[in-house]
């Protein structure tokens, strides 16, 4: 394939290493606030080590950038890993590079890539594979589960492999072009815009709250608090909690206290019967 051919042997070595490491990206899950950040950091280490070879400070900064919330359908996420590798390369070469754009681009890609990845691989491929597998397995045939695994995994692993290379090559050429035309500032702005929009939509879909509190009325339907909350503003509580956390963070409150606060809030709400 075109994308895998124009890659130097050193790049190839690094990308293959990222590809193999990416299989373990979801092994750990550091709670709901970081999700799979450790796996992403582990997968991208070959790039960090290579581009900041004799620069411990650069390595530290790169690692710290990647400690943020990460979650992409894993066999599609390698695209972002390749892309991030190419951006870290640029960042290590050019002191004027705005490293924030790495996080911005990564964040803006998470939602849509997961959307596409989940629907193709889980919605379509896995359902087809399971359909074939179940029909064989219900007759007691061992071939059922085996065929299920083969049908699902062969396309998944191929996608994972090629996307690692495509992400890197695309990033490498694309970012080079941006740089030469002096549009890097615009790219950063674009990625931040898109990133913020995606965080907004993730706030709406992934931060969830549902009150079960209902005030009974004699001879009538009980008043359900959640309906009123929804009428007032859809997703009011998730938005308020997210903005509250943001506000506390910008006031330099330690993130662990914020975590404990949210934890305590939810448990108290549960104990008094609001959720």
């Amino acid at each position: 394939m075109k994308f895998t051919k124009n890659v130097s042997p050193d790049d190839r070595k690094m990308l293959n290493s990222i590809f193999w490491r990416s299989f373990t990206v979801f092994a750990s899950r550091a709670g709901a606030t970081k999700a799979h950040a450790p796996g992403f950091m582990y997968s991208i280490l070959p790039a960090i080590d290579r581009y900041y070879k004799n620069d411990p400070k650069g390595q530290t900064e790169a690692l710290e950038r990647e400690t943020t919330w990460y979650n992409i359908t894993q066999n599609v996420g390698t695209f972002v890993m390749g892309l991030v590798a190419s951006m870290e390369k640029k960042n290590s070469q050019d002191p004027d590079f705005d490293a924030n754009s790495i996080v911005a681009l990564k964040t803006s890609l998470m939602g849509p890539l997961s959307g596409i990845g989940d629907s193709i691989f889980w919605g379509v491929l896995r359902v087809i594979a399971a359909g074939i597998g179940i029909s064989l397995a219900s007759q007691g045939s061992v071939l059922g589960p085996i065929l299920f695994l083969v049908i699902y995994n062969v396309p998944s692993i191929l996608t994972r492999y090629y996307l690692t290379y495509i992400g890197f090559t695309l990033g490498d050429t694309f970012i080079e072009d941006m740089y030469e035309s002096g549009s890097m500032k615009l790219l950063n702005k674009a990625a931040s815009t898109l990133g913020l929009m995606m965080i907004g939509s993730m706030t709406a879909t992934m931060v969830t709250f549902k009150s079960t509190l209902a005030i009974p009325i004699a001879g009538g339907k009980p008043i359900e608090i959640q309906t009123y909350l929804d009428q007032l503003w859809q997703g009011l509580v998730p938005l308020a909690v997210t903005l509250g956390c943001y506000w506390l963070l910008s006031k330099k409150v330690n993130v662990n206290w914020i975590l404990l606060g949210v934890l305590a809030l939810a448990i108290v709400l549960g104990l008094v019967g609001i959720v």
Binding site: G31, Q74, N100, P145, K189, T193, L196, P238, V262
Partner: protein, 273 residues
Amino acid sequence: MLKTAILAALCVFICFGGNWLWGQTMIERPLVVGLVTGLVFGDVREGVMMGAALGAVDIGGALSAEPVTATVLATTFSIILNVNTKAALALAVPIGVFAAFISMFLKNIVMNVFAPLVDKVAATNNQKGLVRLHFGMWFLNYFLFSLVTFFSVLAGAKPVQQLVNEIPKNLMAGLSATGGLLPAVGFAILMRMLWSKQLSPYYFLGFILAAYMKLPSVAVAAVGIIIVVIQWMRDKQLMALENNQKELAAGEVKNHIDNQNNESEQEEEDFFS
């Protein structure tokens, strides 16, 4: 029963843990879990058929139970206790529902304990520590999780179900709510890195598109890309305009002379042609 309990827990650990340790290869689906459990307990046919039965429920998304635990328990009960498929499912699925809660609780809440450590290994560039942390978290999470199966088989399905019923409902609800609210902290950290006053309206736009319009993330991204393209073209124009103005201001006199020269050259060319 101790040996059976250990073996069943091992099945959960291999299928569930293995699936997430390496590539999410779907060895956690009932179809495969049934085969593995069947192999372990020496009745492949029963295992595969149990997997197919649960797989059919699971594919419709109707299974609120955690599929690995449910399948392992159902298969174990049906082979060891020698009950029929339906009875085994009736015993296993309620524990599976409880296991789904435990899984969520471990991954979203308990594992938060390690979040500060992730920041710490990054801040000190401790790469060996990162690797240990990454795989240590994996082991701890799935080891703790397989204990649910271990005790369910050891104590028997009935007492475990009773125990689950006795957990205060309010406490469970509160803990579930935690899992829903905690991602807020993660998103707030991301916002810290991208937020600026000029761009903040886009955060709310994304929220409204998803909360009110119920747009899937791909559609939100598409709207975002349109906005970004428009913004980009306008910014480009602005940049060009600014550059023009700068040139004008800096080289007004020079331009004037240049223009005159151009004009005279033009005349000459006209003359010679």
